[in-house]
């Protein structure tokens, strides 16, 4: 970052206004950020100072006099970010009601910029957006990104989501090149631990069942149904290798199970399925706590 403007001097046709609300009509703006692709963002110094110690230090070092180029009486700061990144970063900083970026690439770029300018609160806001939105399309990729950006919470969510994808469907992405093979290996190890934990929990569920510890399975038919459900889930686990309840208990499995016992009351069958789901999730949460 420097106070110097880009090599083509201001006023040449290469420079344009940033999109609203950061164009030259922005009220009270007192500084101009020039993006990497030469767009002028008219912004408020105070907002930048407030969220970023880096900008704060810079502005306070100016002491009134500003060297370098000026537009409409406002000093120009050249930044390395692209206008899209800068636009979204500023949206996070400004108190406007705007849709946050809905794509992970933009979020990553904005987060990198936020880290660079030491905007701790903004980083939190971005994480929040990433966690809330359903942009976890490729969990492995998000995992790699989260490790790279040091987002531990997102990393856990992403790691959990990877469990739903069979190992051989893991896709390659550029971000894997910035992750160490050791981390990747640990993710695999953790997956196997989850796998074993779920398998053990299911087996145990079956055993407790046969001993009649669970009151609603006392009738032999229900007990048989429960152990059939367990065997379905275990074989699903063995074929897919995905220790996650929504993969193991997919619609096909549910239907197979329900069709097998047409005479048994539906509600008791659903109770079995629900308690199995709870068993899987509980086993996973125990492993997750340890990771």
């Amino acid at each position: 970052m420097s106070v110097d403007p880009p090599s083509p001097s201001p006023g040449t046709s290469g420079i344009t206004d940033a999109p609203k609300p950061f164009d030259s009509s922005a009220t009270k703006s007192d500084v101009v950020l020039c993006s990497q692709d030469f767009k002028h963002f008219h912004v408020l110094k105070d907002f930048l100072s407030y969220v970023s110690p880096v900008f704060d230090t810079m502005f306070s070092s100016w002491e009134g006099e500003t060297a370098g180029w000026v537009v409409d009486g406002k000093p120009i700061i050249q930044v390395e970010e692209h206008s899209t990144t800068l636009y979204n970063l500023l949206l996070f900083i400004y108190p406007f009601e705007r849709e946050p970026p809905c794509n992970i690439d933009t979020c990553v770029e904005v987060a990198k910029a936020a880290n660079k300018y030491d905007m701790v609160e903004i980083d939190k806001k971005i994480r929040e957006v990433v966690r809330k939105s359903h942009i976890i399309g490729d969990p492995l990729r998000v995992f790699a990104i989260a490790v790279f950006l040091g987002w531990e919470d997102i990393m856990k969510v992403a790691a959990y989501s990877t469990l739903g994808v069979p190992l051989r469907d893991f896709g390659w992405c550029q971000e894997l090149e910035s992750l160490s093979a050791g981390k990747y290996h640990k993710l695999l190890r953790w997956r196997f631990t989850c796998h074993d934990a779920v398998d053990r929990a299911l087996t145990k569920y079956n055993d407790t069942n046969f001993l009649g510890f669970q009151p609603f399975h006392k009738e032999s038919k229900l007990s048989g149904a429960a152990s059939f459900a367990v065997s379905l889930l275990r074989s699903n686990l063995a074929t897919t290798g995905c220790p996650q309840s929504n993969v193991l208990l997919d619609e096909t499995t549910k239907n197979t199970f329900l069709r097998k016992y047409p005479v048994v009351q539906r509600s008791s069958l659903y109770t079995i399925l629900e308690s199995l789901e709870a068993t899987i999730d509980e086993a996973l949460s125990k492993v997750c706590k340890r990771c």
């Binding site: 390659w172 990747y184 196997f192």
Partner: protein, 332 residues
Amino acid sequence: MSDLPSSVVTGNITDAPEPFDSSAKRADVILYSQDSKKFYVLKSLLCLASPVFETMLSSWKGQRSDKDKSDVGMPIIPVEEDSTTLYNLLLLIYPYNHKPSSAIEICFGTGKAARKYDMDYVDKKIRELVMVSDILGKEPLRVFAIAMLLGWEDVMKAAAYTTLGVPLRSLGWCQELELLTAGDHHKLLQWRFECHDAVISWLSRQEGPSLTSRPADAFKKLAAATLREELKARGCPRSSALINDTTKATLLQKTPGSSVSTFYDILKKLAEGIDQASSEVRGHPRSRHVLTWIYRYLLILNAIGAGWSLGVSQLFNEMHLCAPGASWLYNL
């Protein structure tokens, strides 16, 4: 060339172990290891093995030992390697009968040093050492990682095939994995799945309708089916892992009273077929020598220009930058 560390002055330097101690005959150069040991070596052998040392010694302006019989004294070359690495490296250069250690850490260390000093035939010797040692079977993933870092394509390939014989979850973590990228690991994993599929489909073809009802054909069919089940259960697309004592016992139990030798012949053919099937996955590896050369060039430049100040971490970075061995994986 930097001056010797202060330990020389304080005097806690010791002689290297035999045969590189001060009693070494005709020694005319001293290599000074990172842990303050003096190796008395032959200049001619060093220069023969390494063009880097040759260049360096042709116009030596650095420190020399005290003048004694000769009028200038021996050149003292401080090197970054510790005495264990240096000792094993020198054993590979000298025509002695001492066997250098085949411990993986030492091979890694000497391998790095051999690369650094551009010692082609020493590098080849170390690779051979690794190939015949049992570390390949014990820690294939580790050997794979190291081979990839050092650009040992042949070792890397052998190690990759050995990993196929180990269940995925039994492949242990090792420090060297931190030096590879997740992308490298990912490619190995995906390649494994492709081998898995190739072996499965090859075995399925062996189960096809046999034309005769000869016991041999029936056995072949049964064996292929059994091995396919074993592969599905263990996920190891490698003959050594599939044809194990358990599967052999199961097969012999299922077909009692027939000629055992015929069965072993059939199993042997199946084993060959299995390994053939995985070796055919995406053709033969090719190497990209350009990268290796850039990498070497960088190392030599660094070694000469920066007066041997090339740190280990930097060395790794550069290796990673060019990842000479990675080409094998990228060509898959």
